[in-house]
Amino acid sequence: MDLPLYWTALIAFLVINVMLLSASVLVYAERRVSGFIQNRPGPNRVGPAGLLQPFADVFKFVLKEDIQPAAASPFIHSLAPVLMVVIAMTTAALIPFAEGVVIADINVGVLMLLALTSISVYGITLAGWSSNSKYALLGGLRSAAQMISYELSMGLAVASVVLIAGTLSLPGIVEDQAAGGAVLGWNVFRNPIGALIFITTAFAETNRAPFDLPEAEQELVGGYHTEYSGMKFGMFFLAEYVNWFIASFMIVTLFFGGYLIPFQPYLLAALPALDGSILLGILQFGSLMLKVAFFAFLFIWVRWTFPRFKYNQLMNIGWKYLLPIALANVLVIAVGVIIFRTLF
């Protein structure tokens, strides 16, 4: 399917709005699920079952006064939250939503993903620096150190996927996982260690618990966003939730078959009319969203189950465990791919 330009524009418009809405759904989900995990009801007053709670929160953000510290550098202080949101939204352009439905099908999609992840650290670091406050600065520095440490392992985990797929484009990687009939072609079965490393580093790169040291409230008040209020704080909040959603998409795309429906070849064999139809696209999108919903839930589950790492533990895990394991994994996968290709 080769879509015309106005279709791409339409999908981009849809995707941006869905991403914005998804943040409010995720906020609601997180608060409700954390409530159940901690044996309390969670927000249940605004609207039916508390569904309108996130919208009430957004109204509060919009109505609040926007305070900028006197000693802050004004331009960078305003730039940082915008950067966070823009980079988070840009990453959505790379996700293949169904067969042939992707906003930017560039042939170096995986590298673009890594590049966007690596520049997303600027938002947090600059927010921390420009606030001119010790808590914010410490949060920003922690974030920079954490991102640099975990990016390497993440890059190596992605490299192992690229080795198997033999392509740098994300739709190509998804299509590559269609082999193997049912679900056994998914990269999580071909490359389980890579999948584990990628999921762990995804938690670290999105600053989610147990890697939420940049905003450890017991030590740093609010961390990098201590000096933000009103909608600027709201934008950090939005960016965090969108990043978390996008990270779930990327885990699914790279390791869990992306938009592929489990047992898709058998389904197509049983119903040949389905091939290339709109219905198949909708089914694929549904299958993608179900998988993503599971990983979004996993993020909440982990956050409310594990305590935060200490700083030395964080660095130990990143440099002494994840990086060597990731390096060895790339080597093993590379040798495995060569053996497999010569045998078959």
Binding site: S73, I76, I106, N107, V108, L111, M112, L114, A115, T117, S118, I119, V121, Y122, T125, L126, W129, L137, G140, L141, A144, A145, M147, I148, E151, L168
Partner: protein, 169 residues
């Protein structure tokens, strides 16, 4: 036409960012100007159909090296440089005029020598920009050079670790 417009836009911003980096008094602002400059260069690569190099430029320079720079600058807590006193406007004017004349001369020379001024955007250029073609020539024709560069970088890394290692006795 659009390609030309993009080229001039990116080139202008790149030059402006480079000047901004030089004249900024605050080290963090300086670093940020440099980041903007690197982004524009990456954009220039993209307009030349070298998408792989363009993305790598963002990934390595803007994403890794500049973050490290920024990290170190923030850790050192450098003070902003004092504001320069009187700027000698005559010298600034002389510099700008000199650059304009240099650009004019280079244009005349380029036209005289028949050097193409516009960026190359042929199908062949698009072909050479892809990761596959780059990898093939790197790992076959230039394999020895690549390995040598790799070993050199490894030695430099080990050297840096040795120098930075603190000895507890």
């Amino acid at each position: 036409m659009a390609a030309q417009f993009l080229f001039f836009l990116l080139a202008t911003v790149a030059v402006a960012a480079a000047i901004g980096m030089l004249v900024a008094r605050n080290p963090v602002s300086s670093a940020l100007w440099l980041v903007l400059n690197l982004f524009c260069i990456a954009g220039l690569y993209l307009t030349m159909n070298a998408s792989f190099i363009g993305v790598i430029q963002i990934l390595v320079y803007a994403g890794a090296i500049m973050v490290l720079f920024l990290f170190v600058i923030m850790l050192l807590n450098l003070q902003a440089l004092p504001r320069p006193g009187d700027i000698e406007w005559t010298k600034v004017l002389a510099f700008v005029l000199g650059m304009v004349i240099l650009a004019q001369l280079m244009y005349v020379v380029a036209v005289g020598l028949d050097v193409p001024i516009e960026p190359v955007t042929t199908a062949q250029a698009a072909e050479t920009g892809s990761a596959e073609v780059l990898a093939r020539s790197l790992f076959t024709e230039y394999a020895l050079h690549l390995e040598m560069a790799g070993i050199l970088l490894l030695a430099a890394t080990i050297g840096a670790v040795m120098l930075a290692q603190r000895r507890f006795e």
